[in-house]
């Protein structure tokens, strides 16, 4: 027989045997896959930001399928699109969660606050914090090495002049930055509440004035001027009660340090 024909025939035969074996195997050894998981998973954006509180989108999808999670509006990154898709797949009602946004509660950029040490090392806030609570004179403020910017799945955070800035349009409120920040200076707040005390320093005013031009000194002017009595001083730091706040902006105007924005 022609050697080419032999070669082709034998190769085809081996291929056919392998194919038959695989078909039989996939038929008789098939493991049923839960289809609802795939469907639910497809509704989620796959950013794996962890904003829902589960390890990645797979975790959230699994929890919804298993019935452990009753709310389908926890995906901040997917927003409305994900919610509507999930509502269709799971047959639950689409109740939108209030959109949230990350707020950096510090105004201490390189101009307004001092450095207490010259830090040379890995450019990471976590590493910087290990040395005497960071290099900033204020041990509560933003360190500006950008752990939050790295953690952000939407690239919504920029470090400008040693301070993290959140791009409100890009931010989905997933909270990845807040978890990455070793100073806990980033808060995840409802997007509708515009007025925030942008300082975390709870030391006495005398000390704050020495180290930062923009920090809250706990003078209490805002607490007295607030028409709704929504502001209280907690540990020398003005704290706004979001339930009472009406976004009137009085505190913004009276604050002598301009740290309520």
């Amino acid at each position: 027989m022609n050697p080419i024909v032999t070669a082709v025939l034998i190769l085809a035969a081996i291929g056919a045997v392998a194919a038959i074996l695989l078909v039989l195997a996939s038929k008789f050894l098939a493991v049923p896959v839960d289809e609802s998981f795939t469907k639910v998973r497809e509704c989620l954006p796959g950013a794996n930001c962890g904003g829902c509180g589960y390890p990645g989108c797979d975790g959230y999808a699994q929890a919804i399928v298993d019935g452990k999670e009753t709310e389908i509006n926890k995906c901040a990154a997917g927003g409305k699109t994900s919610l509507e898709a999930l509502a269709k797949v799971t047959g639950r009602e689409a109740v939108a969660a209030e959109p949230k946004i990350a707020v950096v509660c510090c105004l201490g950029n390189n101009d307004s606050t001092l450095k207490k040490e010259h830090y040379v090392g890995q450019t990471s806030c976590k590493a910087a914090k290990l040395l005497f609570s960071g290099d900033g004179a204020c041990s509560f403020g933003c360190l500006g090495y950008g752990d939050c910017a790295v953690a952000c799945p939407e690239q919504a955070i920029n470090i400008i002049n040693g301070l993290a800035h959140v791009n409100d349009i890009r931010c989905q409120g997933c909270g990845a930055c807040a978890r990455a920040c070793p100073q806990h200076v980033i808060r995840i707040l409802p997007a509708s509440k515009k007025i925030v005390v942008k300082c975390k320093n709870n030391e006495k005013g005398v000390h704050v004035t020495k180290i930062c031009k923009a920090g809250c000194v706990g003078c209490g002017l805002c607490t007295r001027k607030c028409p709704e009595e929504a502001i209280t001083l907690v540990n020398n730091l003005a704290t706004i009660n979001p339930e009472k706040c009406t976004d009137c902006g009085t505190c913004k105007e009276v604050c002598p340090r301009k740290c309520i924005l």
Partner: protein, 199 residues
């Protein structure tokens, strides 16, 4: 050379002196691609060891009992590719059914190495070196172990690289390749040891 010594020689040379990745430069793709994290390199190595051992056994049988009698030895490359691809798929189905835990730990790496050149190389070299069945299986097993050793070693090197700050033109893949070359040079130091030890 007695049988046992020859097996030892094969094992030693496959792991150290003839290491597929660091000396023969086979399977560089998974070596660079998967060695970023320790758990993924361990998973990949496990899958490679498993598939190499199985493929060595199966292809030896096919070569000696089908291809040699039919005088189609020249088709070995294409037939081995076919057989290995089918074998990996089959093993994946079987593992999924009966050994769910092993399936989960080998995970995505199993189908990834379907067409891995190291697996093909080990089966072809078994034939070139005229190994018998046992020698082929040991060859496959230890070649996989050598691959695993290279992966895990290099994973450590890359961990150190992450902390280093190379010049911008070197950052990323270039510095990784330089590091791979240096790691490979250390393995070149084993050359000749096997002959002195076992002959």
């Amino acid at each position: 050379m007695t049988g046992a010594t020859k097996l030892l020689l094969i094992a030693f040379s496959m792991i150290f002196t003839e290491n597929y990745v660091l000396v023969q430069f086979i399977a560089i793709c998974p070596f660079l691609g998967v060695s970023k994290k320790l758990d993924s390199s361990v998973g990949m190595s496990g899958a490679v060891i498993f598939v190499m051992t199985l493929a060595s056994a199966v292809t030896w049988l096919i070569y000696n009992f089908i291809m040699v009698p039919l005088h189609i030895e020249y088709l070995s490359t294409i037939i081995f590719i076919l057989v290995i691809a089918a074998l990996v798929q089959f093993v994946e189905i079987v593992l999924k059914k009966f050994l769910k835990s092993l399936y989960n730990s080998l995970g995505i790496y199993l189908p990834l190495i379907t067409t891995n050149c190291a697996v093909l190389a080990v089966t072809l070299l078994n034939i070139t070196n005229t190994y018998n069945f046992l020698e082929s299986v040991i060859d496959g097993l230890t070649a996989g172990v050598g691959f695993g050793l290279a992966m895990i070693l290099f994973c450590g090197v890359r961990k150190a690289l992450e902390r280093a700050k190379p010049p911008k033109c070197f950052s990323g893949l270039p510095i990784t390749l330089v590091a791979a070359a240096l790691t490979s040079m250390t393995f070149m130091g084993f050359t000749g040891i096997a002959d002195a030890l076992f002959k």
